[in-house]
Amino acid sequence: MQFHFKVADAERERDNVAASSNAGANPHAALQPQQPVALVEPKDAQHEIRLQNIVATFSVNCELDLKAINSRTRNSEYSPKRFRGVIMRMHSPRCTALIFRTGKIICTGARNEIEADIGSRKFARILQKLGFPVKFMEYKLQNIVATVDLRFPIRLENLNHVHGQFSSYEPEMFPGLIYRMVKPRIVLLIFVNGKVVFTGAKSRKDIMDCLEAISPILLSFRKT
């Protein structure tokens, strides 16, 4: 237990040196339930950002026959009355694509940028196999959703009071505080238990910058 939490610490080296001396003894005996030390530096949290969803769009630059695509593939669904696009799903990486007649495709559900790229190219490859003259153009990440656990409780009421022009906190409606950061333009959902959801980012760097910007503010509104 000791080992795991202190990996996230800034002083991990010292502790690890101490722990290595105990490596010979039974590790389980050394386990003690312990309240984890809160993150002191915002940089520590950066490696704990978890991306939850990535939305990417691209174009194959040719008109597509949706009926043909739907009939010739196993993993697609198409009901034109409900939605004017073919919905195609894939197992690895786990993604869903919305394919339109104009050749524009939206790929959602990927867990990181690489998966999104591979997934998009796989969809384009499927269309290529069906015989369309496919090109991989204008690939762009439109939205990235990420979460992070800061591991300290936050005073939402005070944050709402001081940062009134950016935040919107209405406990009657939603338990979290909605913070609309101007630069980078990202919306954060901040909860009282220290968990934060980032959404609206166009790149991972945006999220890192956002976390760097918000960490000192949240630390200043920490409880106890």
Partner: protein
């Protein structure tokens, strides 16, 4: 024509202007230079026992105009502006809403002010007026600190409370009103009164208030609806004072679910204050504040997750530890290596003995120097950090009681290097070819069906979507038919107002409208077309021969039926029509068409200029005669009925051609 400062007759500059009489007179010779000047002064009329000014009083903010048309709904009479009407309506509705919520007139006025603010910023557009009124009233409640909830207002107005909340949030953000957070303490009194506690209501409320304050300290209220806390507190307080209020009673008053109430009670029981006895609770106030329950739950989950991890995880950690250790050693050895290389400098490995001994000493010196430097650096860093803390504490300290960093506006506005880099990157061209080397093609092959499977799936899909396919087919047929008829494809185009030129008979006007709008399917367009065939013989030459403005095929087709009407009509009126330049280029075109063959016959050398001349000159009679000659033989059989109709309409207008034409147009 204004005379300015000089008299026309004598040239003197002495001119007197009298606004009352409205004239300008020369003082020298006495001649009246101007009469009936436009004057602007206030006039009075006799009203009752005094004089009142003529005109409307208009406020400086308004646009000045007042509509005179009596709108049935408003019933305020003519002469009121639409904005005033809106505000009056809002006032009525807001006052009604406040009465239903038992709010005094003061609140209604405040709410109306919010509404006026929203109105002036155009925030009311696109939203239901009931939502806006309710949102304004709720804003008033929140700013004044009354114990009204969003749910109360949505109950009264039968609006979804989330919708109402959304409108309220948008309004308050747009008006830049910082509304304080909800305090559960406000609602205790209100709910206590409803619980029918009799004489002890006040005591129970006080106890409940204390409980809620304790809950706030223990952070149970963050992110939760205040009513839940109030319900739990009231239940406990009532029990403490020997009132046997059940959960159902409380739920009925407070409007939360039983499971929520249970959860709040259990959370409170977990806190140390919850473990105190009644007397202890009333007297003692524990110092330590608790973490919010959701935070505690998250930590518990983490701990359990760690416990579930087996040895596998630990060996990984061991590896990590070893890696870090090596890095540390590596750092040390690097510095030693560096010293060795430094010590050697330019001298090669000629004498290993002496350089080594000196280098060892050097190493020691180096290391001690480094150590001193590092420790100094640390001390300096600490001092800097302290200073920063001091700086940060100052603005925070100014805010009474609330610590916390204020937003850094300067950092928001700064253009960072990364932004510039992003712009540069965006300008670069992107890769276009699909690279599939690293993709697993076998898996993708599984997704593609074979021919037979594809056919089977297609059949199934057709069955499922039969209605949709039917609709599509009908749509296609309709479009194809329209294309045949020669109508422009009515796709999602902006409806451009087609100016229909003037027509001399009602019949002509109707036919023209039919052509434009294609109203009736009962009109046999084929027959209409045959009517034009006679004229069509003439006009068919003109498009091919004329070098001048050749109309598009659509225009041509449009004109042909139109020309039918023109044919039998007396050329006089047509000539008249050509005289003035009215909108409706299609009107001119047929004229051109008909005129062309005549002009061609007359003057073959200059066909281009002639048509223009033909159309624009006043030599209309000549033209008219020529046209009449050309068309009479063909059109005679049809001419008679139209001619008689024309005669009927033309009674008494023959002498003055121009006047007739003008009068006709003016009748519209």
């Amino acid at each position: 024509m204004s005379t300015g400062f000089k008299c026309r007759n004598c040239g003197s500059n002495e001119i007197e202007e009298d606004n009352a009489r409205g004239d300008r007179v020369c003082m020298n010779c006495g001649s009246v230079l101007e009469d009936s000047l436009i004057v602007s002064e206030v006039q009075f009329e006799e009203v009752g026992h005094g004089a009142a000014a003529i005109g409307q009083f208009v406020s400086a903010e308004s646009s000045g105009g007042a509509t005179n048309y009596g709108y049935g709904k408003f019933q305020v009479g003519s002469g009121t502006e639409s904005r005033e009407v809106t505000i009056k309506k809002a006032k009525k509705d807001i006052t009604l809403l406040c009465q239903q919520l038992q709010l005094s007139q003061h609140y209604a006025d405040t709410a109306l002010n919010f509404f006026k603010m929203a109105l002036s910023r155009h925030l009311t557009r696109g939203r239901k007026s009931t939502h806006i009124y309710a949102a304004c009233v709720y804003m008033t409640c929140r700013t004044e600190g009354t114990s009204h909830l969003l749910i109360d207002i949505s109950d009264v107005q039968q609006i979804c409370s989330y919708e109402l909340g959304r409108t309220y949030l948008k309004l308050s953000h747009a008006l830049c009103i910082n509304i304080p957070s909800v305090d559960p303490c406000l609602y205790i009194m209100r709910f206590a009164n409803r619980l029918q506690l009799g004489a002890k209501t006040h005591e129970v409320s006080m106890t409940a208030l204390r409980i809620v304050q304790r809950m706030k300290k223990d952070c149970m209220h963050s992110g939760r609806r205040p009513t839940g806390l109030c319900g739990a507190a009231l239940l406990i307080a009532a029990r403490m004072h020997d009132f046997s209020r059940t959960m159902l009673d409380v739920i009925g008053v407070v409007k939360i679910h039983e499971s929520t109430l249970r959860k709040r009670l259990s959370e409170f029981a977990e806190t140390p204050s919850g473990g105190l006895t009644l007397e202890e609770f009333m007297t003692v106030d524990l110092e330590r504040e608790q973490d919010p329950p959701s935070f505690k739950a998250a930590r518990k989950k983490d701990r359990e997750r760690i416990k579930d991890m087996g040895e596998h995880e630990l060996t990984e950690l061991q590896k990590e530890i070893d890696a870090h250790l090596e890095k540390d050693l590596g750092k040390y050895s690097n510095s030693v290596y560096r010293q060795l290389t430094k010590g050697k400098g330019c001298t090669p490995l000629s004498s290993p003995g002496t350089p080594k001994s000196t280098s060892e000493k050097d190493i020691e010196m180096e290391e001690s120097r480094q150590f001193i430097e590092q420790s100094n650096a640390e001390v300096i860093k600490e001092l800097i950090a302290k200073n920063e803390d001091v700086k940060k504490a100052e603005p925070g300290g100014l805010v009474a009681g609330i610590e916390g960093l204020r937003p850094d506006i300067e950092a928001i506005c700064r253009v960072t290097q990364s932004d510039l880099e992003d712009v540069e990157k965006a300008k670069q061209p992107q890769e276009q070819e699909l690279i599939t080397d690293d993709l697993n093609d076998d898996e993708l092959d599984q997704y593609v069906l074979t021919e037979d499977e594809a056919l089977a799936k297609f059949e199934m899909w057709k069955n499922l979507n039969a209605e949709y396919l039917q609709e599509q087919k009908e749509r296609e047929e309709r479009l194809a038919k329209e294309r045949e008829e020669g109508k422009p494809e009515r796709k999602k185009r902006k409806p451009r107002k087609k100016v229909i030129g003037p027509s001399s008979t009602a019949g002509e006007a109707i036919e023209k409208m039919l052509q434009e709008k294609k109203i009736s399917s009962k009109i046999n367009y084929e027959i209409l077309k045959t009517l034009t065939d006679g004229i069509g013989g003439l006009t068919d030459d003109s498009p091919t021969t004329s070098a001048d403005t050749k109309p598009s095929t659509l225009e041509e087709l449009k004109q042909q039926p139109v020309i039918v009407e023109e044919g039998p009509l007396p050329s006089k009126s047509r000539a008249n029509r050509a005289a003035y330049d009215l909108p409706g280029p299609s009107r001119k075109r047929p004229k051109l068409e008909v005129g062309l063959p005549v002009s061609q016959a007359a003057d073959v050398e200059q066909p281009d200029s002639k048509p223009a001349v033909v159309v624009e000159t006043d030599d209309l009679d000549e033209d008219a005669e020529a046209e009449a000659e050309a068309e009479d033989p063909d059109v005679e059989p049809e001419a008679e009925p139209e001619a008689t109709l024309q005669d009927m309409l033309n009674t008494g207008g023959d002498d003055d051609e121009f006047g007739y034409g003008f009068d006709e147009e003016e009748e519209y």
